[in-house]
Point group: none
Chain length 225, copies 2
DNA sequence: ACCGGCGCTGAGGGCACCCTGAGAATTCCT
DNA sequence: AGGAATTCTCAGGGTGCCCTCAGCGCCGGT
């Protein structure tokens, strides 16, 4: 398992390298953001550990650029900041885990193993289907450049559909996951909301991303229709 | 996105529920390990949040049992313990993330979103017979590059045939598996649908993948005809 | 070649499935 | 509390799907 560690403080970087090597990882080092980004792009690593405060490019920026390039290598952010909002920001930016200094190599190694077990995440922070995009963090939905106002229920249903874009989703599954009604199930409410969604995400744009498959369910076109 | 929270301290459980609901999650609660395991098994949740110290079954045990049952629902462990080895143990046991008390709902929600981003169910394989392909997940049927629209019944029948491609399938077997009529069986309906299928998957392409074997049944050519 | 049976097909009725507008019920906000 | 937004229920209506039926062609046997 090859890991890239980007950390400008050389003594800490060396210590992390030795600590992870002791746990069986192969570790490369980079000492600034530009080098780190370059290596992460080219090096085919199984995971990347990023310090936040770096010369030239911050850890945030590295992560953001990698994700913008559709590179879903597991990223673990490492930082002295422990404000909760920093943490939330890092995760919503596309990082997969977050660890605050000081930390132990045992924990770092365990979290890396957990990340590697999951494998590279083939999913971006912002969910997309063609020119349709949905950001679970900021709750923003767009069709191309124009943003769309959705109610909570509409948003939840579209989120579920866009996570399964290209797949057929039965109405019963939508009812299970988007609604909380366990027993008194009326599938009609799903149909009603399918109609609401079409009026907001399809009709104004002359598209038809949300298709009904009679007897099967709904399918959101992976290419946005 | 539906989340199960297993936490025995009721006030905390309620607070977490409200906090996550404010972030847009649908939250179910369980107050002991046995309930938690049961719900996690049955409830089709998108993620599970487990307290470690629980009556009846610990969070560790719940996680261990779920994984032993091949249930890969994303699990986040929540605990007052913050010893580094506890953390490492939880992660190596198959949990996907670990958070120590006290924590904030903003962080919990962000980490759940990161988990959901990663957690994607593996798709069923695409079935093939020559240049004929059928995808049970997206419900897409193709002959070469051109996609074909099938009704629910046509799709079900083709799916059954393509799974038995190259083999002879009696009409009675199709009736049993594609239709649910147990007794009042009229085999003619199978013949009718064989005709529908031929008109859609064979005739437009000048092929004949679906052959009739008089007195025996039908056979879908394994090489697509 | 004739005949019996098997399979194919076009037509059509019925109904299940889905969509939609209206309005009640509930929640949220001021 | 009052009003607005959201969520949900309900009934009506359209249409596509499913199945039945009857007639005919075709195949295989004698």
């Amino acid at each position: 398992m090859r890991v890239l560690v980007v950390e400008d403080e050389r003594r800490l970087a060396g210590a992390v390298q030795r600590g992870l090597q002791a746990e069986g990882f192969a570790v490369d080092l980079a000492y600034d953001g530009a080098d780190g980004l370059h290596l992460a792009r080219e090096g085919a690593y199984d995971a990347v550990v990023l310090d936040l405060m770096l010369p030239k490019l911050s850890g945030y920026q590295i992560c953001e650029r990698l994700r913008a390039e559709e590179n879903w290598v597991p990223v673990l952010i490492l930082s002295a900041k422990d404000g909760e909002y920093d943490q939330a920001d890092g995760l919503d930016l596309g990082a997969d885990d977050y660890l605050t200094k000081p930390f132990s190599y045992v924990v770092l190694a365990a979290r890396l193993r957990a990340l590697l077990r999951r494998g590279a995440a083939p999913r971006p922070a912002v969910l997309r289907a063609g020119d349709l995009s949905l950001d679970p963090g900021s709750r923003v939905v767009r069709r191309g450049e124009t943003s769309i106002e959705l109610t909570a229920r509409e948003f939840a249903m579209l989120e579920y559909l866009i996570r399964r874009a290209g797949q057929v989703v039965p109405k019963s599954e939508l009812l299970d996951h988007v609604w909380e009604t366990s027993d008194t199930a009326d599938l009609n409410v799903v149909e009603v909301y399918a109609g609401y969604l079409r009026r907001k995400i399809d009709a104004p744009f002359g598209r038809s991303a949300l298709r009904t498959l009679r007897g099967a369910g709904y399918r959101l076109a992976a290419d946005g229709g």
